[in-house]
Amino acid sequence: MSVMKFTKDHEWVRLEGDGTGTVGITDYAQEQLGELVYVELPEIDAEVEQGVEAGVIESVKAAGDLKSPVTGSVVEVNEALADEPGKINEDPLGEGWVFKVKLAEVSGADDLMDQAEYDEYVEEQG
């Protein structure tokens, strides 16, 4: 069974239960950024660290870091975003996923917010 977890920077990771996680940005994040025009994906096999920049997401307005919500190594990236970064706007939790990681032993996933906690956190952001 998969579990969704969230960061304060509005990334999500879906823990697939097999030691991997799929990473993206939340609906709130895509709405704040506006229409995305470019996504810089991490490289396959890249080591990503929780809270550290793993990619870049650019809207018409500005460039923003995509921080990895967990520590691990990249096993797959969403190549479709190269031509269609707008997929993140359309379907941030689905087709707009950014990369998949093989979780490190200490991935940090336990420190993240669950859906209810994240919803409350977004509420506080106004």
Partner: protein, 376 residues
């Protein structure tokens, strides 16, 4: 201009409540709380303006009236522009220069018949007004129009919209100006703008600005547009943003703004010189300049933004991007910046450094999109 100042220290234009009502995302800009975008977003707002018509609140800009017999000759002592030869009800772009030949601000100058009407940038307006009062206040009266708002309607449908609610604007062409009624409100209108599209800038008494904005927004072609799209529109149109693409360290020649300096004010012209830094500008004209502002078309999808370094084939840093981003109409990144004059020819291949990686970019002709001004 004057308007309310709230606790944040930021001012609000008279249309603040309307922006909020329309769902505008308010951000600080040049000392004002301004809408960067509305719910439809920058991309759609940009495209809507190029396809139909967009309404912009530019009331944060400074509107100034110069009165008195010697006003045109007086203003010519501050700008390298032909003001004396500007016909009645005609407008032109201008630049305030400094003693080093740099640019203090850019502005629009209109011969309104019995006075000159000047529009300056929000961030510079206090200093511009002080500069005019100090330098030419003894030759003409410099009156800041604190009780007027400024709306711009831009886009290919702007002419039809205005013809409907202000029939007197029908025969105006690009850079014409006139006192006309718009939806029954006495306004001062110029057929110009800063998007590369046909359009109008409407100076309206502050107490009737909301009424005018509502009337314009009720026209089926018109949607409200924020500062985000205003920036991408002017960038695609190859127009300078003061403080970024031109500033006190760039001369009109370096800024590739020679077109704004009519022959009569250039060396050999009847009223050559006579503005601050004229000697420097003349030298730049005679000897050429070491660097120039050019358009840049990045060759990948990676947006190249302000501050990105430009490097040549050998990897040597040769210049810097001063404006850049994604051009929704182009469908890709666009930028402008300064490069050495020998690398300024259209087609020159350079690299722009983005997050430490070189991205190919080619010097390109501006505007990036065709100008669609209405010339009759």
């Amino acid at each position: 201009m004057g308007n309310d100042t709230v606790d944040s220290g930021l001012s609000r234009t008279v249309l603040y409540d309307l922006h909020v009502e329309l769902g505008g995302k308010m951000v600080p800009f040049a000392g004002y709380e301004m809408p960067v975008q509305y719910p439809q977003g920058i991309m759609k707002e940009h495209l809507h303006t190029r396809e139909q018509a967009g309404l912009f609140d530019v009331s944060h800009m400074g509107q100034v009236k110069l009165m008195g017999e010697g006003r045109a000759a007086a203003l010519e002592t501050l700008v390298p522009v032909d003001v004396i030869g500007l016909g009645a009800n005609r407008q032109r772009y201008g630049l305030f220069t400094n003693d080093a030949g740099g640019i203090r601000d850019d502005l629009m100058i209109t011969n309104a018949g019995d006075h000159l009407f000047v529009v300056v940038n929000a961030a510079c307006k206090e200093q511009d007004i002080a500069h005019m009062r100090e330098s030419i206040g003894d030759r003409c009266e410099v009156q800041a129009l604190d009780d007027r708002a400024l709306l711009a309607i831009q886009g290919p449908a702007a002419g039809a919209v205005m013809a409907r609610i202000a029939p007197d604007t029908r025969n105006m062409v690009f850079m014409d100006a006139a006192s006309v009624e718009v939806a029954g409100i006495p306004c001062f209108v110029a057929r110009s703008g800063y998007t590369g599209e046909d359009g109008f800038e409407i100076s309206v008494p502050e107490d009737r600005a909301a009424e005018l904005a509502h009337t314009l927004l009720h026209q089926p072609e018109v949607k409200p547009i924020g500062l985000g799209a205003r920036d991408s529109l002017r960038l695609e149109a190859g127009l300078c943003l003061y403080g970024h693409d031109i500033d006190t360290d760039t001369s009109p020649v370096e800024g590739s703004l020679l077109w704004a300096m009519q022959k009569v004010r250039r060396p050999g012209g009847e009223r050559a010189g006579g503005f601050p830094g004229a000697d420097v500008v003349a030298r730049h004209l005679a000897e050429g300049v070491a660097r120039k502002r050019v358009g840049l078309l990045p060759q990948t999808r990676v947006p190249v933004r302000e501050g990105a370094e430009l490097v040549d084939g050998e990897g040597t840093t040769v210049g810097r991007v001063t404006s850049g981003g994604f051009g929704p109409t182009i469908g890709g990144p666009v930028a402008m910046g300064y490069v050495p004059s020998e690398l300024a020819a259209v087609g020159t291949e350079l690299q722009a450094m983005v997050r430490g990686k070189p991205q190919p970019a080619v010097v390109a002709k501006t505007p990036f999109v065709p100008q669609r001004y209405y010339r009759g």
